[in-house]
């Protein structure tokens, strides 16, 4: 259970980010290191100015899906940003921003929420992911 789980996050909607946060927390809880790599719209969602905002849902969610998500939030479900923070607290989790996506979005390190640990390129990520699985969300 100690091979690193590499999670590449591409989608920036609340549904996929919440799913990714749950996977990260679950892996961290069973002692599995997680290396999260933020690309494109997932990276955009981690901006300090946007992280607590509404990031919508994938089109397939439809109105019913959005209503279900709103109901979970109203019932006290933690936002995905908080689940990622808790995952870091209980296990070996690092969250890195893709340097190419930083360029794409004209971002600097200071623009990102502190839950993001740093910026790295794809080679560094691949090295860190090692022989573990790499999942693209």
């Amino acid at each position: 259970m100690d091979t690193t789980l590499g999670l590449v996050l591409f989608s920036g909607t609340d549904d996929t980010l919440n799913a990714a946060a749950v996977l990260t927390a679950g892996a961290a809880a069973v002692g599995r290191p997680v290396h999260v790599f933020l690309q494109y719209w997932a990276l955009d969602a981690f901006r300090a100015s946007k992280i607590d905002g509404d990031h919508g849902a994938a089109p397939e969610a439809g109105d019913e899906g959005r209503a279900a998500m709103a109901a979970m939030r109203a019932a006290g479900q933690a936002p995905w940003s908080e689940t990622f923070r808790q995952a870091k607290d209980i296990g070996d989790v690092t969250i890195q921003a893709c340097s190419l996506s930083m360029d794409l979005l004209h971002l600097e390190h200071g623009d990102l929420d502190p839950v993001v640990d740093g910026i790295e390129g794809v080679a560094a990520f691949m090295f860190a992911a090692g022989d573990g699985q790499i999942v693209f969300i």
Partner: protein, 78 residues
Amino acid sequence: MTTLDIAQRVDAKGLACPLPIVRTAQAMKTLASGQLLEVLATDAGSVKDFDAWSKSTGNALVESGADGGVFRFVLRKK
């Protein structure tokens, strides 16, 4: 019925996955080896989750039961 010496209790009733396990992992960090942690949860998936968590982390699942809709787990820190 033996009374267990519970060092800490986690009330995860009403919390959905992954919070029961997350709260348990957080609480377990504060315990010393051999101490017991009791968790109450209502999440339907928690029975399998706690069994799996116990096996993965080596923190023994000393008791696992249900009373009404509430699951009760007692774990020993390894």
